[in-house]
Symmetry: none
Subunit: 242 residues, 2 copies
């Protein structure tokens, strides 16, 4: 497994957006941020509040003068763009890009351009490949932190540690327990003269069996359901009588 | 190919975040937003500027009093949560959830909770399944628009290659039909004095809601189940009296 990519913000304008990018990164386990010539210098007092607790990313952020310096130790540089450029380079969607990063030998960096204009042609020229998020052709309006979070999210999907705490759903009840429920309901329905006419009984019973089989209720749920059906029956001494 | 999911913002607090969510949606081709009891009313003057041009989503947004009303026409309701809940429902990562939505018969809705606290247990109880974004266990800090954009992004990825659903099973009943069944059973159980002690009533009702939500019964099955429950009740004049 390769090292996570370095996130390089190229000439970011607002400290707030640097903070938001840090927050987006840390949500998905990315911690290495590099800043190229941030417009308002560094550190920036607006970054911290926007990071919403991701201060470690900001504290460790390194600042460089140029993209070349910021990516000097990286074997693979990817440039994110939304618009099509006149540059002839491979274009990856985020999913394919993170797969390539994971497979690659050596560190990878992903460049994100300034808020207003995006990366310039000279920045893109440094990159080996382009990452483009496929977006609504009629409305492309991804901001910096959103672009970062989509890449970070894709990266995290391949990381084992990020797997969700899957709930251990109870397996469906054993067949005999389910059968107990079905027989009970059939009995209650017979007492209520539900099955009529007689020649339809078989079909109706089959349908009710289907209804109760479909849920895949677990043993506890089957017991609860039996209690519920008993409760609402006329045999329940507490039931309403009127 | 199934319809895109409806994005339901439950009790959103800030107009700005509603706007950002609209922007996130439209970037990936989602246009149907529903608002449940937005804190500051609707329309909200802060939403437009934050939408950054996604005004069409805001203009078409519908407002509802309750989650049940907002999802009345939806066969599949998903609740997004970050924290683990005591609710036993299937848990999907975004990728698996959009795959399920795409395969499903009938419309799907995805619920997003208020900024500060997320969805309440009663909101989650209405849902058939839970969507959890796998996140850094040491730093989970996704905001509303970020959660929306990740789901919208995942949805958009499958749009080009979406295949028609394999099975032609009847879709689950719409939420309001299911609600009718749940209310009927609750009423019957109340008449049977099933809910006791009073301080357990809420938990028990939630459990029964879970039982009836799990099957994904279609409209006909829900009607049959209502008939079955009516038949075995003491109110049925044909029922056994002894």
């Amino acid at each position: 497994v390769n090292a996570p990519p370095v996130i390089v913000l190229v000439r970011p304008q607002l400290g707030e957006n640097i903070g938001k990018a840090a927050r987006a990164m840390l949500n998905f386990g990315l911690v290495e941020m590099r800043l190229v010539a941030p417009r308002d210098g560094w550190p920036n007092p607006s970054a911290g509040p926007a990071a919403a607790g991701a201060d470690i990313v900001l504290a460790d952020a390194q600042v460089f003068e140029t993209v070349a310096e910021a990516t000097a130790d990286c074997a693979h540089v990817y440039a994110t763009t939304v618009r099509k450029r006149g540059v002839m380079k491979p274009v990856f969607a985020p999913e394919a890009a993170v797969a390539a990063i994971r497979e690659a030998q050596g560190r990878s960096a992903i460049l994100f351009g300034p808020e207003r204009a995006g990366l310039e042609t000279d920045d893109v020229a440094l990159a080996r490949a382009i990452i483009t998020v496929p977006i609504n052709p009629a409305f492309g309006s991804l901001n910096l932190a959103q672009a970062v979070i989509l890449l970070a999210y894709e990266w995290s999907k391949g990381e084992a540690l990020a797997s969700p705490p899957l709930t251990t759903l109870e397996p469906p009840a054993a067949q005999d327990e389910l059968e107990g429920l079905i027989v009970q309901l059939e009995t209650q329905l017979e007492e209520a003269h539900y099955f009529w006419p007689p020649d339809r009984t078989q079909v109706t019973k089959r349908m009710i069996r289907g209804l109760l089989t479909k849920p895949g209720w677990n043993a506890g749920e089957v017991r609860t359901m039996r209690g519920v059906l008993r409760a609402i029956s006329p045999d329940n001494p507490h039931a309403k009588r009127d």
